[in-house]
């Protein structure tokens, strides 16, 4: 077709052709990005991981120990809190209060295991804060427990170390940075509302950290350790950002 015949065509036809071209181009670009996917290539994954480590450092710089998470009225808190784990609620670990021992290891001077009775004797405080999940949902809850910093001091942990790691009864594992571990709102939550924390929310305790995404709030904790070596974590080893601060 010559240029002259093309130009004699009605304007609308020309626009239609161009719209079609535009749609084809943009769809093509998106399919290229989404479908046949560059995301799964090793080189792309390596770049994304490097950016994630960069974001760990950036978030650590943004974090302030004096910066408190907003708190809410108890009436805003949800009692029927969303259960969330990588397995169904029927499969949650049901630990015995009598047999439970919290194991300690790493850079801690007094590594004797703690019974639940001794843990419950520690000073406790309540908080009504927003739990923000990496998936996008959020919920306000009320938790009661002992500041992790108080506990770490009590057992003689090296507070200049970089990380506090955790291992859980369900095989979950991970770590947080020491500044977050010492944040006043980071608590070993033995209670949900005014009751002992139920199994589905992490009995005997979850580490409630309102300055971090939900998956950095481990439930059914059985071991705490202090270390200077990066540890990764259950979801972190599956591509999620390690610091995940709020």
């Amino acid at each position: 077709m010559t240029r002259a015949t093309l130009e004699r065509k009605p304007l609308v036809r020309g626009i239609e052709r161009r719209l079609f071209l535009r749609q084809t181009l943009s769809l093509g670009a998106l399919v290229m990005l989404g479908g046949c996917d560059i995301s799964d290539q090793d080189s792309v994954q390596a770049v994304l991981r490097a950016m994630s480590r960069w974001n760990d450092r950036a978030q650590a710089l943004l974090f302030r120990e004096s910066r408190l998470a907003p708190t809410f009225a108890e009436s805003e808190a949800v009692r029927d809190f969303r259960y969330n784990a990588y397995f169904p609620v029927e499969a949650v670990p049901k630990l015995s209060a009598d047999d439970y021992r919290l194991e300690l290891s790493g850079l801690i001077s007094d590594k004797r295991p703690w019974t639940l009775e001794r843990l419950h004797a520690l000073p406790q405080e309540s908080q009504v804060t927003r739990h923000v999940c990496v998936e996008g949902w959020s919920m306000i809850g009320k938790w009661r427990g002992t500041p992790l910093g108080t506990f770490l001091q009590r057992v003689g942990a090296d507070l200049t170390a970089k990380y506090v790691g955790y291992r859980c009864a369900d095989g979950y594992y991970g770590s947080i940075d020491m500044p977050t571990a010492l944040h006043p709102q980071t608590i070993m939550a033995f209670g949900f509302f005014d009751e002992t924390i139920p199994a589905k929310y992490g009995f005997p305790f979850k580490i409630r950290i309102p300055t971090k995404l939900g998956f950095k709030n481990p439930k059914w904790v059985t071991t705490l350790y202090v270390t200077n070596r990066p540890t990764g974590g259950f979801w972190e080893d599956r591509g999620y950002n390690w610091f995940s601060g709020l």
């Binding site: 998106l30 399919v31 990005l33 989404g34 799964d40 994304l48 910066r67 907003p70 949902w137 309102p210």
Partner: protein, 237 residues
């Protein structure tokens, strides 16, 4: 300084080359911005799908989202490709924000905004908007009409709102005043979503019009458009 350097006159073609419309720096920033926005929206759609911010039943087809093959990450990681999308989103945000910051600084300092995006008057905007609706708005390369100026200010504003609401979702503790300003964590997600919609709407119009006047694309790649390739003509009503 010693003797003046006398340059030999370079023999030039008889036809002078058209003036540079977009300096190299602006062209680089434009295409970096395009790349960053494409990644942000593609990965953002995957993140949205993970837990939609809107209460209506709406999701993006996974094939149009960025974050790797869904069944692969299900099999490998027991998750629906959210990790990958988040990694893209929080990686490309630095490209977007740094590039945009440089663009804004250069735009103000160099006078690009003042020269090309101003003045913008309501009367002129209404006049040009009506003309555009009647397909009677002329496009002159290197010169923006009132509708274009309005759209460029509009998309800059949408970018600002989307970036700030995004920051308030990313850091609702460290920047909780900002989160409060956007109506709290949940509502900030909705603001972020509609900011994306505004940017996406701009892109659709922007790309469609660029394809109608292809010399603009040549100019945004090469800096200047060959004269014969400029299809747009002044139309008299």
């Amino acid at each position: 300084m010693t003797a003046a350097v006398v340059r030999p006159a370079t023999p030039r073609a008889a036809v002078p080359r058209p003036a540079v419309l977009h300096p190299l720096s602006r062209r680089i920033m434009h295409w970096l911005n395009a790349l960053a926005i494409l990644i942000m929206i593609g990965s953002g759609w995957r993140i949205y799908d993970s837990y939609p911010a809107l209460s209506i039943d709406f999701g993006f087809p996974p094939a149009y989202t960025l974050g790797g093959d869904l069944s692969r990450s299900e099999a490998l990681n027991n998750e629906d490709g959210l990790a990958n999308a988040l990694a893209w989103h929080f990686g490309a945000m630095w490209l977007l924000v740094i590039n945009l910051a440089v663009y804004l600084i250069v735009g103000f300092v160099s006078g690009h905004f003042r020269r090309d995006f101003l003045p913008l008057r309501l009367s002129g905007l209404i006049h040009d908007f009506v003309a555009a609706l009647r397909f009677r708005l002329a496009h002159t390369l290197g010169e923006y009409n009132a509708v274009q100026k309005f759209f460029y200010w509009g998309v800059l504003f949408a970018l600002l709102v989307t970036i700030l609401s995004g920051l308030s979702i990313w850091k609702p503790v460290q920047f909780h005043e900002l989160t409060w300003l956007f109506g709290g964590y949940e509502f900030a997600r909705v603001v972020h979503f509609f900011g994306m919609c505004a940017i996406a709407a701009f892109i659709v119009v922007h790309v469609a019009l660029a394809l109608l006047v292809p010399s603009t694309i040549v100019a945004m790649v090469l800096g200047r458009a060959p004269r014969g390739h400029h299809h747009s003509k002044k139309k008299q009503p």
